[in-house]
């Protein structure tokens, strides 16, 4: 267990591409920190710098208070689970897990004990003599996990460890990873671009965009009060609706002339955000939706359409049996505190 502190680090790849222009992040001991963001935003780059697989251009990374910038990956006391698992194809499951221990000259009986314990925890007892290619995708994933935990490192680093699994197995493994991490209490950084995975796993959620941190916080806090329009659109599924309008001291006037009372604003162009699941039918509601498509998901239905008088796309997640049909017009509203106001130009949260 160790805290990880990332202090104004910068990454410029050879060739001059600046991928991370200066980023700081503190992860407390025992915490599971999830980095989430769209493809290419620098999540893997950041993780690989912590692992020592990528050089840090500027700034400092400390693990357990010790500066690790110039240490070899092996000397950083971390272990990593790769997206493709990176199992050694010519070694048995046992040897895959024991490799790191042997390299550290651990006595044989202790290696045996540790590998057996890890295999037991992951349900791999019967597979220790197999080669990776004789395993299913889910089993391979667990071997990769096993290889990471036998070393009992100060920190785990995960780079999209579940993205090669099918949807069902992903949910199951996600729960297992969470349970395992809590039981071991090992500080972890987990990279994903799946916002659902991020929400369910994280103690601390870090939303990244173009090499910068957009917001850090507990997952529910980020969900309820996204700091920027980007975060608001990225976290949550289906994504938040944005209705363009003009702010006044009394509220927001949408582009179709409808007023929504929201005290505390000053003025200027804004995007009024509201989550699909926060919208509900109300004959007196301010949001008039012309229904285009209705997707029935079982428990709920996603109603897609346009804000009347504008071309802003809206999705509302409605439950119940009395669902509208395409072509209908629907009046919707959201509870107080469910409206999010962002500056239209900067995307900064105003309210």
């Amino acid at each position: 267990m160790a805290n990880i502190s990332i202090d104004t680090i910068k990454k410029i790849y050879p060739g001059g591409v600046e991928v991370i222009p200066g980023l700081s992040l503190d992860i407390a001991a025992g915490e599971l920190c999830v980095l989430v963001g769209p493809s290419g935003c620098g999540k893997s780059t950041l993780l690989r710098m912590v692992a020592g697989l990528e050089e840090v251009t500027e700034g400092e990374i400390r693990i357990g208070g010790r500066r690790v910038n110039d240490l070899e990956p092996a000397a950083r006391d971390i272990s990593m689970v790769f997206q493709n698992y990176a199992l050694y194809p010519h070694m048995s499951v046992f040897d895959n897990m024991a490799y790191g221990l042997r390299n550290r000259r651990m006595p044989k009986p202790e290696i045996r004990t540790r590998v057996d314990a890890a295999a037991g925890a992951l349900g791999l007892e019967g597979f220790l003599d197999r080669k990776p290619r004789q395993l299913s995708g889910g089993q391979r994933q667990r071997v990769a996990m096993g290889r990471a935990i036998v070393r009992e490192p100060a920190a785990f680093l995960f780079d999209e460890p579940l993205s090669n699994l099918d949807a069902k197995l992903r949910v199951k493994t996600r729960v297992e990873i969470r349970a395992l991490q809590q039981r071991l209490g090992t500080t972890s950084i987990y990279v994903t671009h799946d916002q659902l995975e991020a929400m369910t796993l994280a103690d601390k959620l870090v939303v990244m965009h173009a090499g910068r941190i957009e917001q850090v916080g507990p997952p529910l806090g980020v969900y309820e009060r996204p700091a920027t329009a980007f975060v608001a659109g990225f976290i949550g599924s289906p994504p938040m609706n944005f209705l363009p309008g003009e702010a006044h001291t009394t509220g927001v006037r949408l582009d179709n002339g409808v007023d929504i009372a929201l005290p505390g604003l000053t003025g200027g162009r804004v995007d009024l955000g509201v989550r699909p699941e926060d919208l509900h039918v109300d004959p007196a509601g301010p949001v008039e939706l012309s229904v285009r498509v209705v997707e029935r998901l079982g428990a709920t239905a996603n109603v897609h359409g346009r804000l009347a008088g504008t071309d802003a796309e809206i999705i509302a997640s409605l439950s119940g049996t009395d669902l509208p049909a395409p072509g209908d017009t629907l009046r919707l509203t959201a509870g107080a505190g469910k409206w999010h106001v962002f500056d239209a130009a900067q995307g900064i949260r105003l309210l």
């Binding site: 272990s79 790769f82 010519h90 790191g100 390299n103």
Partner: protein, 294 residues
């Protein structure tokens, strides 16, 4: 009925299309091979006036001939050294290139050059370099206190043809090694680095085992090369000398036929070589079917 008619109409087209290939095979392989087989059971007198059928006598005499046995061992030593040297150098270069892969295209282009040089030219090139009176390499060795002379020293002569033959294979081996190394996912060596393996340990415990199919393939290719394609090099540098020290099998075939004028024995030697190449090819095919287990 209809389908049959269509099949009939195109009956000669496939044959026509493969005809050039078949013609080449017949002219350059089947015909000489059958000639060699035929000659190997005949004996001509010294003037070529009389030819008689002698059965397997040519073969029996061949394997009773200490010079032939010696040539066999010379060839085995030669090909082992050529394969070993060229693969070792190529592997070192490939590992280095793999590290700085962005520059590998330049590397690759440069390293393909020797392969484009015909064996005889390569031979002459090395002959010049190592010529005891005018060669720059011989001069350098002389400066280091080694009296190089491949005209009098059998081991010097062997070293010369090994270097000349290996040089040409380095580029070929390099390409295969580099491709093999590049095919190993980078994350594997990264995982090993995190697992506490230093660069050498990583190479021996991860990259080398995963490269073993390539190594096996290249051993066969290089041995075939050393056995059969090095005539030009020997002819241009040592001519099998001094005192048969570099008289490898392919060279002996030629020398016995055209200098010794012993066609029957030479043909029998060709047949032996043919059997060896068939055996090596069979090993190769078996390997392609099964792949090396790791």
């Amino acid at each position: 009925m209809r389908t049959k008619k269509v099949t009939f109409r195109h009956r000669w087209l496939p044959y026509l299309l493969v005809a050039p290939q078949i013609a080449i095979t017949i002219v350059f392989f089947i015909w000489p091979a059958s000639q060699a087989l035929y000659q190997s059971v005949l004996r001509q007198d010294a003037f070529g006036l009389r030819t008689e059928f002698v059965g397997l006598q040519n073969f029996a005499r061949l394997f009773a001939d200490p010079l032939y046995i010696k040539s066999f061992f010379t060839t085995i030593a030669f090909s082992a050294m050529v394969a070993g040297l060229s693969m070792l150098v190529a592997l070192i270069l490939a590992v280095m290139a793999d590290r700085v892969i962005r520059r590998a295209t330049v590397y690759r282009t440069l390293l393909i050059w020797p392969y484009a040089v015909a064996p005889a030219v390569a031979g002459v090139l090395w002959w010049f370099l190592f010529n005891p009176t005018i060669g720059i390499a011989a001069y350098a060795l002389d400066q280091l206190g080694y009296d190089w002379n491949h005209y009098s020293s059998g081991s010097d002569a062997m070293a010369l043809i090994v270097i000349a033959a290996a040089w040409r294979q380095v580029s070929y081996n390099f390409l295969f090694f580099l491709a093999g190394l590049q095919a190993i996912p980078r994350s594997l060596t990264e995982a090993a680095a995190i697992d506490g393996a230093g660069p050498f340990k990583r190479f021996w415990s991860i990259q080398m085992p995963l490269l073993s199919p390539t190594v096996f393939f290249l051993i066969v290719v290089n041995v075939v090369y050393a056995f059969f394609e090095t005539f030009g090099i020997v002819h241009a540098t040592t001519s099998g000398g001094p005192g048969n020290a570099t008289n490898i099998l392919v060279y002996k075939v030629w020398r016995d036929a055209f200098e010794g004028l012993n066609l029957g024995s030479s043909a029998a030697q060709s047949v032996v070589l043919m059997v060896i190449v068939i055996a090596l090819t069979a090993i190769q095919f078996r390997y392609i079917e099964r792949r090396v287990e790791y």
